[in-house]
């Protein structure tokens, strides 16, 4: 048993059954669900909160993702929101007392054509205007930051330039989830693992609780923080969502003995590479084109993604793929999150996190908690479900990195 596991033993776990009623019931004990519970309890004094999960804590995408934290988005509302999240990550270790292995590395977002170079220049200016630290840099500076790169891109993808996001970072995903789980439990939140929600309790049009195999639980507010299967939960409430579930794959290689300092992405090739604390090279690319709930990896993905990354980083050809994994992602049709009220009383939602949810955990959780507690939260106001009816979609596919 290691030191990390020992810290979990002293937690005030609920050994009995859930209470018959809570102020807030959150479906899904992933990053967003637990962070919302944590901030409700620690910032707003709402401790009569219960988090339910059909599996264990962090069993979904929060517990396996590519751990990238950045705020270099393409529309002002997103930059402000993700910048708040990035700043909260920087102080999360101090706040929770948990080591989340936060590591500021910087992110290089390469352009291989004049048009994408313009996109990256726009991104840098947009970011600066909205408070994120991003500069446009040339090939020489890229080579300095990342000596392993082939600036000719195998002759086919020459590097014109890149936007460099100074505060791009990584953190250990399951430690983040457990930091919030520990904080929430210590503040009095109840967390029940292996307790699936099987339906919603309704009073007329209003959602008043959840059904579980361990009995019905009444709630002042029910929040869905469900990932890939969110449509099932929304259907119970009668809410139509602009969400399609896609599988996203990623893989790591065996350890690369030298330092690979930054996170590197490519706008044209659509892939990203970073180095894990164990030295493995972590590589990902776009999500599978067809909608699917099946968490299957495919050889053709590994082949295509390896080819793209070796084009820019020839040294990767000497490494071997160690393991790969797949998560199912709730991708919204405008590539921005959907967070807040649903139009159904008593039922709120945090979804549409697609392939970009991990970086948003602190801001998503704290803003949703603020909305529940005070009735308003500025940063997530543009990201309500109602935006689609008001012709105010937050379309930003080029910033997803996985489109």
């Amino acid at each position: 048993m290691n030191e990390f596991v020992e810290t979990l033993l002293d937690l005030p776990w609920q050994t009995g059954e859930p209470k018959s009623s809570y102020d807030v019931v959150i479906i899904g004990a992933g990053g967003h669900g637990l962070a919302t519970a944590y901030y409700l309890a620690t910032r707003h004094g709402i401790t009569n909160v219960c988090v339910l999960d059909s599996n264990f804590i962090g069993a979904g995408n929060s517990g396996r993702n590519t751990t990238i934290i950045r705020s270099n988005y393409g529309i002002p509302e997103s930059v402000r929101f993700y910048q708040r999240s990035l700043e909260m990550y920087q102080t999360l270790e101090d706040e929770t007392g948990c080591w989340i292995m936060h590591n500021q590395k910087g992110q290089i977002w390469m352009a291989h054509s004049v048009s994408t170079a313009r996109t990256e220049q726009t991104r840098a200016l947009m970011n600066q205007a909205c408070g994120a630290k991003t500069d446009y840099i040339g090939p020489d500076e890229i080579k300095q930051l990342c000596p392993q790169i082939d600036l000719t891109g195998g002759g086919r993808y020459p590097v014109y330039g890149a936007s460099y996001h100074h505060e791009g970072a990584t953190a250990r995903h399951d430690r983040v989830v457990w930091a919030y789980a520990q904080g929430a439990l210590r503040a009095g939140v109840h967390v029940f693992q292996h307790t699936p929600v099987t339906g919603l309790l309704k009073d007329g049009d209003r959602v008043v609780g959840v059904q579980t195999p361990r009995g019905n639980i009444a709630a002042g507010t029910v929040i869905s923080a469900v990932g890939g299967d969110v449509t099932t939960v929304a259907n119970w409430a009668g809410v139509r969502l602009p969400i399609r579930t896609h599988a996203l794959q990623a893989f790591v290689t065996n350890a690369y003995a030298q330092e690979f300092a930054p996170i590197v992405s490519s706008n044209d090739l659509v892939f990203y590479v970073s180095q894990t604390p164990r030295g493995q090279m972590l590589i990902g690319a776009e999500y599978d084109r067809f909608a699917s709930y099946r968490q299957a990896t495919s050889f053709s993905y590994l082949q295509a993604c390896s080819k793209k990354s070796i084009t820019m980083f020839p040294f990767l050809a000497k490494l071997r793929i160690l393991r790969s994994w797949t998560g199912i992602c709730d991708v919204s049709t405008d590539f921005s999150p959907i967070i807040g009220h649903t139009g159904v009383d008593g039922f709120m939602i945090t979804t549409g996190w697609g392939t970009w949810g991990f970086k948003a955990i602190p801001a998503g959780g704290s803003q949703l908690a603020e909305l529940v507690a005070t009735g308003s939260a500025t940063l997530i106001e543009p990201f309500g479900l109602q935006r689609f009816a008001h012709e105010a979609a937050m379309a930003d596919p080029s910033s997803a990195g996985t489109r």
């Binding site: 099932t232 602009p242 067809f290 689609f388 009816a389």
Partner: protein
């Protein structure tokens, strides 16, 4: 490996195909024309189970066809069960 049955060419690896999404449906319960437009433009059924959808055999006959697929298993089923 995922195999997709093309009605013209036979069974081929899925990389030969392009996915064309499911047939859009807007529930009859939405009656307001504006709301129906919003639903048609943005909302998804996102069925976890059997769907009827379009696929394009890009590397073969280059024709669109309709397929029935279980999105939980990615199993392709006869179009008219």
């Amino acid at each position: 490996m995922l195999w997709v049955e093309c009605p013209n060419c036979g069974s081929r690896p899925f990389e030969e195909y392009r996915y064309g999404n499911v047939f859009p449906t807007t529930p009859d319960t939405i009656t307001d024309p504006d709301a129906r437009n919003v639903d048609h433009a943005w909302m998804q059924d996102n069925v976890g189970g059997e769907t009827l959808e379009r696929w394009f055999h890009e590397a073969g006959c280059r024709r669109w066809f309709t397929a029935r697929r279980n999105t939980r298993t990615d199993e392709f089923l006869p179009v008219d069960p």
